[in-house]
Subunit: 147 residues, 2 copies
């Protein structure tokens, strides 16, 4: 059996993030928040400047999942991981979306930066930053950009 | 004389970020980009999904500075720094803005996450992520939020 102690640091971090992304696709909020530390500070793409602490961010995930009917896309691309000792961060693009009225999945692209600490041998997410850029003139979020 | 080798790791990272922020306030693009590695990947608040590499991001900074007349505000708040060995990341809120037609500085708040590596003893920025959240219904960037 392969345990996280056998993996390279980058692979162990990516393994944590892939399990987190799978929990998002499964819309399993308990499995999502199991990756977070109690003092997580999250900058999500929508609604508020920040969510401070696990309970505030869990309520936000609950609200987000209530908005999404049907299957969900949530895939990390172009990920780059920097890790040394017990601190790591990863940046990448996330292709995400949900089913439209015809049952087809419409996706768009967001940017993600995720900060982690290794605590008692396990990688945990201490910070997330998700966003779309906006247009300076119209102030509209640019949700149709592709890499 | 205090050198970066004498500082705690967190203080050395914050010192790098405060010098970077001072370069932004001074609108000194050469001093800004002196903090970056050649392979920086930047997710800025406006325009594009990402800027890959120092030259692409330098051109973006040049274009941004051309838009800003008069004095500029750019102050990091609520910063949290995680560092181990030669890798660090920092998240915080940036109060930024420029002069309006009456010469007064109007500011707003953005979120920032900055990833760094220590290379030959000096901290360098390898990744930046700046953003405003947006409203799901109107798709408008939420530029009037305050902490």
């Amino acid at each position: 059996m392969t345990t996280s102690a056998d993996l390279s640091p980058e692979t162990a971090v990516l393994d944590c993030l892939e399990r987190w992304a799978a929990a998002v696709r499964a819309k399993d909020v308990e499995a999502i928040v199991a990756h977070y530390t109690p003092d997580i500070v999250a900058f999500d793409a929508i609604l508020q400047l920040q969510f401070k602490g696990l309970e505030a961010y869990r309520r936000h995930w609950d609200a987000c999942m209530a908005l999404c009917a049907g299957p969900m896309a949530f895939q990390i691309h172009e990920e780059v991981i920097h890790v040394d000792g017990n601190v790591a961060f990863c940046h990448g693009l996330i292709e995400c979306g949900g089913a439209n009225e015809r049952g087809e999945i419409d996706t768009g692209w967001l940017r993600a930066t995720i900060g982690l600490r290794r605590i008692e041998g396990e990688w945990r997410i201490v910070h997330e930053h998700h966003s779309a850029p906006f247009d300076m003139t119209s102030r509209q979020a640019l949700l149709d950009l592709t890499p």
